[in-house]
């Protein structure tokens, strides 16, 4: 389930969108924290479509890449949230084409 903020809660808000819906994080958040304080996963795994949220939080496992509206990909645990980010998660194009 979702992350819970336990400290440093007095930071100014930062607005962004997920799948076109308005969302809010805090200044200094990573993209991962901004997303996972509101939802349980970051992406769907390529093979079975199961939800994934990341694993190591230190840039080692590469389980947390998410897509931006412009098609670029970012590693959510090491990328700071910036105002107006337009993140795509449950949009269908994000699942890799299956070869079957």
């Amino acid at each position: 389930m979702a992350f819970t903020r336990l400290a440093e809660t007095g930071r100014p808000p930062v607005a962004f969108t997920v799948d076109g819906i308005a969302a809010e994080g805090c200044e200094g958040d990573t993209v991962m924290v901004a997303l996972l304080t509101a939802r349980g996963h970051l992406r769907r795994e390529e093979f079975g479509g199961t939800p994934r949220a990341g694993f190591c939080m230190m840039g080692a496992c590469q389980d947390c890449w998410v897509r931006l509206a412009d098609g670029s990909r970012i590693r959510a645990c090491t990328t700071p949230l910036s105002p107006g980010m337009d993140i795509r998660i449950d949009t269908p194009e994000d699942t890799w084409p299956t070869l079957a």
């Binding site: 389930m1 400290a7 349980g40 093979f47 694993f55 190591c56 939080m57 389980d63 645990c77």
Partner: protein, 457 residues
């Protein structure tokens, strides 16, 4: 003659003390680190604008954390510092790095690798769900972002960090549903003589245990983890106690870790020999007592070479820098070297105590049920790995990798490789030394797609 070009790769406690030692000898080393701020894992600094004090962030280690940060801040004008720069390969005396989309090349006369460690993981059925995290992740969320990975968390695995991070969560106001340690209590009692090499650290560990007990956190030792439950997102963990009784605990998130494994990919690419350490069952770079690798002019220090803890990393960083200076024909203090070697020897006795206290559960890893997802990146199960061994005769891990895709995914085997090797060894009926290790491969982490040589764009 121009000054030798020395690169320190990694700005954790080991790298910072190495850089400081080189600067004190009149050199201007290049310092490369992929993190935006120096400090490394344990002394990781939150982003600007966060307000918790060093005491709140680092607890009993606040003094050492501040000392390492201040030492590096004072050095900044005297080193060629490249933060947010990923070193992704080493070939023919050149470190290849990328900062954003810019490719950088750093030729060196001497290279000091201080790349640290990552969590050592054993897959548990269901660990591929959202909400299962590494223990390190649980700590980073709290330290660097002020977040818990959930409101109610189970900490499972073994090792000193298991109890430390659980206690940090209690202190921060999260609910710790349980600490599940796969190591039996008897192992911890057996380890006491070794742990007495650092009585103050042992005492801190015992205080942590007492704090967990006082907070009413259930601590179970000698457990077997059977499944992280949930339907896509984790909702608890099932486990078996030392007597064989089954239990389940509900939780919003589960943190898993079995101490650490050194990050050795760059050492491997630099050509350094690695050897299987029978006690930890990990492949470790070969080093002499001062940190010289098997390759001339390449030195190793800190968690990336031996898991001596943060103070041990500081001492090893200094000693490896002195070795590099000595090999360049610079004067070094033999007394200082002798002192550092003694300090490291003491920390190594403690390290071995930890290995005894919190053993890697090799037998549990080897016995994981066939349906367990071993490789989270490529969705490879224990059964598929066993089939590659028994059906196709692949007992060497790189061959098993080619046949089963184990360790071929984006994490390059960092999180599945250790347990994968245990599975292969058990299925093939051979030792880990015959199984070998997944070879380091460039790029050691994914590069931004458009990394172009500096000045070329």
């Amino acid at each position: 003659m121009a000054d030798p070009r020395v690169i320190v790769l990694g700005a954790g406690p080991a790298g910072v003390r190495a850089a400081q030692t080189l600067v004190a000898a009149g050199l201007r080393p290049v310092v490369i680190d992929e993190a935006p701020r120096a400090g490394g894992q344990i002394y990781r600094r939150p982003p600007p604008g966060f307000t918790r004090s060093a005491a709140a962030l680092y607890g009993t280690e606040a003094g050492r954390a501040t000392a390492v940060h201040e030492a590096f801040d004072a050095l900044k004008a005297q080193v060629d510092y490249h933060p947010e720069t990923l070193a992704w390969a080493i070939w023919d005396g050149v470190v290849h790095a990328a900062k954003g989309a810019t490719a950088l090349e750093f030729p060196y006369d001497a290279l000091l690798l201080a790349t640290g460690a990552t969590d050592r993981l054993m897959p548990v059925p269901g660990w591929d769900q959202a909400g299962a995290w590494s223990l390190g992740a649980a700590q980073i969320a709290l330290k660097a972002q002020g977040c818990g990975i959930g409101r109610r968390v189970v900490f499972a695995g073994s090792g000193p960090l298991l109890y430390l991070v659980a206690a940090q969560y209690v202190k921060a106001g999260a609910e710790v549903a349980a600490v599940l340690d796969t190591a039996p209590k008897s192992a911890q009692i057996r380890a006491l003589p070794g742990l007495m090499a650092r009585p103050a650290v042992l005492a801190k560990g015992l205080v942590l245990r007492a704090k967990l007990l006082r907070a009413g956190v259930p601590v179970h030792q000698g457990v077997t983890l059977t499944r992280i439950t949930g339907s896509g997102e984790a909702d608890g963990i099932s486990w078996r106690d030392a007597r064989g009784a089954e239990h389940h605990i509900a939780a919003e998130a589960v943190a898993l870790g079995w101490h650490l494994r050194p990050e050795t990919q760059l050492a491997d690419l630099a050509g350094c020999a690695l050897r299987l350490d029978p006690e930890t069952r990990l492949w470790l770079p070969e080093i002499d007592p001062d940190g010289r690798s098997s390759v001339p002019r390449v030195y190793l220090a800190g968690d990336g070479a031996r898991l001596l803890g943060a103070d041990g990393a500081e001492a090893a960083g200094r000693l490896a820098a002195l070795a590099a200076l000595q090999d360049m024909g610079r004067p070094v203090s033999a007394a200082e070297q002798a002192r550092l070697r003694r300090e490291i020897a003491r920390m190594d006795r403690f390290r071995r105590g930890l290995v005894t206290a919190f053993p890697w559960p090799a037998a549990q890893a080897a016995a994981l049920p066939d349906e367990t997802m071993i490789c989270r990146c490529e969705a490879i199960t224990a059964g598929e790995i066993r089939a590659a061994v028994t059906g196709k005769g692949a007992k060497e891990i790189n061959r098993a990798k080619a046949l089963s895709r184990l360790g071929m995914g984006r994490c390059q085997g960092r999180f599945c490789g250790v347990a994968g090797a245990e599975l292969i060894a058990a299925a093939a009926g051979c030792g880990l030394d015959e199984v070998g290790r997944i070879r380091g491969q460039a790029p050691v982490k994914p590069l931004p797609v458009a990394a172009t040589p500096e000045g070329a764009a």
